[in-house]
């Protein structure tokens, strides 16, 4: 009996030893069966094209208050009154999108997909511009795990600007490669449906926008801007738009919420007065395609910082973003950059380079294209454009006029606030908000709360929000 037991013990011990031998297999459970580590580049292309448009909207959703297209129904709005506000959501969405773009570029490099690399670089440049135009500096060189750190250092404003230009140039080179082992999917590219030529035009449009941004700098080159324009858009059909939503267009979402008493999208009196003849004595028919009249049959805006005046907000006695506008319907696309904007960049650069003819033609073409986009009736288009206060003649064209007209074209675009700062807010009768926390117009947004709490060591020293950004000063 005893011997049997000893044998038995031996067997158990030997068995345990053997099973430990098999440990390597036994523990080989490191791959998550429910998630994928490397999906196809086209599946990320869907993500990044979608997110880029969303992020353009995200930035515009507050910067349009600074450029006074919108005004808050509440007098205590931190945005309207130039207080420090927490823009963590937008910052995070932008960095999350850039991380996806970074992944796509890296995966595309590995799998011979130069066009994906190219699109990735262009979208990265687009995002970096959003970052630096909004907050000034931000992480890039140490971002997205390029350096193994939880607290990536910030690139300076100037570096971010230079990087985005460089990325555009690199992206163009990639897109110019005629063949790719993996082609861009026409269904998963939500901006240009896999059309390489369309992407090239967009790349040059964004390049022109970037080059034109440093108009206050001595390094500004109108020639370079115009050279980029030459290779970019030639009609509204070229626009970089994204129109695929799981719900509806985000601006339409604002409009719908407003109708449901979650207030937002109230047009600023600055913008309404810009259009309805108050400022310029000339009624701009585009107002009818942007908003709707109040219950009193007029166009009335809300003063920034003043909040709702008059009756309770459920009475529609001021103008709101409209579900009827071609720009803000449920199914309207989001715009990244448009032909009319490019025309106004051209007008400005040509004007600065002393070519008033090209400037004037671009100016008129920009207005016209925008009116077409807004579906303004032909007669109304003509009567506005042909009015002497618009068709001033090339010799009477001024920067003020270009900026005045571009202001309408860049409605809902984050670029509008960049223009406002470049133009030092010198739009006619552009007022400081009521109860502003600053003595001057706002020039930047403070680094968001999430960065302060998670990356405080690298966040640049806080400065007043009326301190201009790098490109916003000579």
């Amino acid at each position: 009996m005893k011997k049997n037991i000893k044998n038995w013990i031996f067997l158990v011990l030997a068995g345990s030893a053997l099973s430990l031998q098999g440990c390597k297999d036994y523990f080989d459970l490191n791959e998550n069966p429910s998630l994928i580590a490397k999906p196809s580049v086209n599946s990320i292309l869907a993500t990044v094209t979608h997110k880029t448009a969303k992020n353009s909207y995200n930035v515009a959703s507050f910067s349009t208050y600074y450029s006074q297209y919108f005004a808050s129904p509440s007098s205590s709005s931190t945005t309207d009154t130039y207080q420090v506000s927490n823009t963590s959501g937008t910052w995070n969405a932008i960095y999350f999108a850039m991380a996806d773009i970074h992944d796509m570029i890296e995966f595309a490099k590995e799998s011979d997909a130069p066009h994906h690399v190219g699109v990735g670089k262009i979208l990265m440049a687009f995002h970096l511009a959003l970052v630096t135009d909004t907050w000034g500096s931000g992480p890039y060189k140490e971002a997205f795990g390029k350096v193994n750190t939880l607290t990536p250092k910030y690139d300076s404003e100037e570096d971010l600007y230079k990087t985005s230009l460089q990325l555009i140039d690199e992206g163009i080179l990639e897109l110019e490669k005629p063949t790719a082992y993996i082609a861009m999917s026409s269904t998963l590219d939500m901006i240009h449906k896999g059309n390489r030529q369309a992407w090239l035009k967009t790349a040059y449009a964004i390049k022109a926008r970037l080059l034109n941004k440093i108009s206050k700098k001595s390094t500004y080159s109108a020639t370079a801007v115009l050279a980029a324009i030459d290779k970019s858009y030639t009609s509204n059909a070229d626009d970089a738009t994204m129109g695929i939503f799981s719900g509806r267009n985000d601006w339409a979402g604002v409009a719908t919420s407003n109708l449901n008493n979650v207030l937002g999208g109230w047009l600023s009196s600055n913008f309404i007065d810009h259009l309805n003849g108050t400022k310029y004595g000339l009624f701009d028919p585009r107002i009818e395609k942007i908003t709707e009249k109040t219950v009193h049959g007029v166009y009335v805006g809300t003063r920034n910082g003043q909040g709702n005046v008059g009756a309770a907000n459920t009475i529609h006695d001021e103008c709101y973003i409209s579900l009827k506008s071609p720009l803000t319907k449920d199914a309207s696309p989001l715009f990244l950059i448009t032909y009319p904007e490019v025309k106004f960049i051209e007008a400005e650069a040509a004007f600065r380079s002393g070519n008033p003819e090209r400037a004037y033609n671009a100016y008129l073409a920009g207005i016209k294209a925008n009116m077409v986009r807004l579906e303004v009736e032909q007669a109304a288009q003509d009567s506005y454009i042909n009015d002497a206060r618009v068709s001033v003649g090339k010799e009477n064209l001024t920067l003020d006029l270009i900026f005045k007209e571009k202001f309408v074209v860049t409605y809902l675009s984050p670029e509008a606030w960049n223009d406002a700062r470049r133009f030092d807010y010198k739009y006619k009768n552009f007022q400081m908000p009521v109860g502003a926390a600053l003595g001057n117009f706002i020039r930047r947004v403070s680094i968001p709360q999430d960065e302060l709490s998670r990356n405080s060591a690298n966040v640049p020293t806080t400065v007043s929000l009326d301190v201009p950004l790098w490109w916003d000063k000579p």
């Binding site: 459970l29 490191n30 580590a37 292309l45 506000s85 960095y95 971002a143 939880l150 607290t151 709360q449």
Partner: protein
Amino acid sequence: MKKNLLFLILGLFWAIMPAIAQQRAVSGIVTDQNTGATLANVSVSVKGTSIREQTNEQGYFSIQIEGNRVLIFRSVGYVDKEIQTGTNTTLNVQLQPSSQDIGEVIVTAMGIRKEKKALGYSAQDIQSKELLKNKNTNVINSLNGKIAGVNITNSGGAPGASASIIIRGGTSLERDNQPLFVIDGMPMDNSTGNGDNSAFDGNVNLSTTNSNRSMDLNPEDIESISVLKGPAAAALYGLRAAAGAIVITTKKGQDGVTSVNFSSRYSANWVNKLPEQQAIFGQGSYYSGTFTDQTTRSWGDPFAPGAKIYDNMGDFFQTANGFDNSLSVSGGSKSGNFFLSASNVAQSGIVPTTDYGRSTVRFNGEQKAGIFTFGLNSSFSTSSSQKTLTGSGLWGSNGSGYMESIIAWPRNDDMSVWLNEDGTKRRLLPNLTLDSDTDNPFWIIHRNPQKDKTTRVLGSVYTQVKVTDWFDITYRLGIDNYNTKYNTLIEPGSSVKEAWQQGMLSQTDRSYEYFNNNLMLNFQKQIHEDWDFGLLLGGTTEDTKVESNSLRAEKFVIPNFYSLNNAEQKDKYQSQSITQKRLAALYGDFRLNYKNLLYLNVTGRNDWASTLPIQNRSFFYKAFSGSFIFTEVMGSNDVLSFGKLRASLAEVGKDAPPYQTNTYLFGPELTIGGGFRNYWTRGNDQLKPETTTSFEIGTDLRLFKNKLGLDFTYYINTSKDQILQPRVSNATAYILSYVNTGVIENRGIELTLNATPIKRDRFTWETNLNFSHNKGKVKELPGALPILYVTDVQVGNAKAASFGDGNFMGLSGTKWQTDDDGNLLLNWTTGYPLTSTNATEPVGNREPNFIGGWNNSLTFGDWNLSFLFDFRKGGDVYNGTGYLLTAYGLSQVTENRGSKLTFTGKSLNPTTKEYESVTREVVADEKYYRDIYLNNAPFFIEKVNWVRLRSASLMYNLPNHALNKLGFVKGASLSVAGNNLLLFTNYSGMDPETSAAGAGVIGSGSVGIDYAGVPNTAGFTFGLNVRF
């Protein structure tokens, strides 16, 4: 009354009727020699055999013997007594109290029974009788207040709600801090809920109440629960021991006696405390400057005199009923024993429509054959519950929880009318779109139910080989398998996000499969007259697989047909998650005892874990503990009868969740056009386990001939290499990133006093007072991160958070702006304080200064009165419910609306651009409360003290003479018990023992967060217990 009393009939009896040859029964009563009191639980054994019996509550025993044998009577606190039976069949025995009642034995790690005096660490146990005094459906709740150093928080009064148990503070910032549960030598799962499905159907820990899975146990099956408080006690569990261990031993049959035990309980429970509401102002809002009644908020005009004001909150709750029946049969012979039980619990909740039900069956059996013992411990259980949405309802649903809706309901409206006469939904604000309106709470409980159902098989088989009298081997194979189905229904017409307005049904099937192998070689030998030694060597493997499959259907085609089939293909969604992990370990435990004077214990364990990268997969943990009985050297005297010093040093760990060594992408995701995106979390291929090092010293003193016992412990636990996924700069490409960094330190003391102030013939008073204090500090956080949030608990204007170089159980929130000198900053134009969006300010600490319990048992003849007070001093509770009341204008704080307030502080003069000291008078209007007041979290943080009569029970045991008349009845008792009957607290909301998101929350948890949950209850239980 929903359900009738269920009488249980056991369909199958496993009767072991061994042939008994020439045996006879010897029976009698055991009493205390000094007091004459009958003694329960006295061990009666036949010398030289393994035959063993115990006396019952009345001191009665009966034992089978052959011929003339020697019986040994042993009991804690008494001198052993040996008696020759002769030919007697009746033996009445008196035991002499010993001066050293330290012969107590406790079940320690791996099920090893050790003498308490040998332990070099603090461990406490609770026996069946004490557990059942205030029997709770959730066995964890029956421990509350009884054990020093153990902080138990019942998450609320919902039937089937989880309870959180934290031993000596949390050791992990972002891992589960619930202790390891071990049942009959095998780890069992005690996880809580379905809180990680937010992206799929909105289920988060806050959105409803869930059960913690140790609730699947029938408390009547439990013989004892040992609480292994520190790493030293639990060291044999290595990688799983950092949070301590709860070691449960279930009942066994006794040889010779076949007994049947039946118990039945009825309970009635009601809300014990509700927040107050104002009854001055009605529905409406002046927020925009002009009046509107298109709001649920109560910021309107004062009620007209005589206007009907409804007590919507008070009228909502009902009295909850519960029935709890259990039946067990046990018995055995010298070669085998069995325990068979069945139970059923059916409870309704204080929130109408909610309920909880549980049925269990258990079979424990053991058979000896020569040197082998074969055994089985098994249980099968089913439980189900219907629950309501709590907090803000489903995440991202735009809906609300039932309590949030009650708080949102204006008191000029009769909330109980929730349907129109024609049966359609009666809406408060029919002019608003559905998703802007608020659902009536009655609609929520009837039309948006949350249900779950769990079936579980839990058990182990074992073989023990007694090779020699000093060496035995035990092999145990255990399984723990369960499946839970979670159902979430949103009926069409609910005030939720657009996608769900035509209905939503989701179902999640979660299956848990766990296998455990454990082999132990146990050596125990006296190698010299003075030296006793013991060695345990063992190996164990664990395999855990969790699979979760979720299905969702939206937009029902036929509105009132609630099936996953009832939707178009495009409105059907599914999601799957599979995780598997394995753990293997070799362990050893060496014990040395010198003359019962010095004890030394050394433990080592090496773990291999599949969740860690290859190079970090293997880990060794060690622990040392010792005790010194100094009264053995200096001798005991009338004052000090027994004295022991103990100390230990130990190291244990906690591993990573599965699959965190790699980084993945997520998708395809519809909201981003069907693309793949970065997962929220960055993996780390350098992860290693968390390590907790513990140092503990203590003493155990018995004074005045054992009348008073004192146990004191001091400990420092340091937990380093925390596996964290801190929220990082999104520029890293992730929201969260796994790292191994951060240190938590818990320091604390525990004090237990035991006394028997009165011990007379007919009257005994036993009392136990315990007291503990723990301070959990975060010593280090990764990089520049000043704060870590608990993702699940971010409510109102505050969050559960841990602060670098600060409190582990902290609260963060927004505060009014102040300057560096602490002066309030005021808005120059309006005079109101300036609010801030900075939500990272430390605003509170949820850890109490101390907690404790005072447990008493008074026996007068056949009567026993027991009562347990528990108390807590300090520690903040976040009154998120008060936040909601204020936002909706129903808080009594807002009764002063319209009156003037004066603020003094500094304000920036816009002309001079200088700060000036100012005193400004402003109006406390709706805008002030909603925009300014609500943004100062400290208004909703309360430092809470309480004293509560947690339980009181009165029991009458039928006396022997009455039992004798009945003949076949061996014992019977009647009892009435109350729980939570008295609560004295300074807290303004509902019961401050609350945990908004339940026990399933990692890190510092949701303890001390009150946010629109189900309030706690008070109640009575009537019980009957009969033994045959």
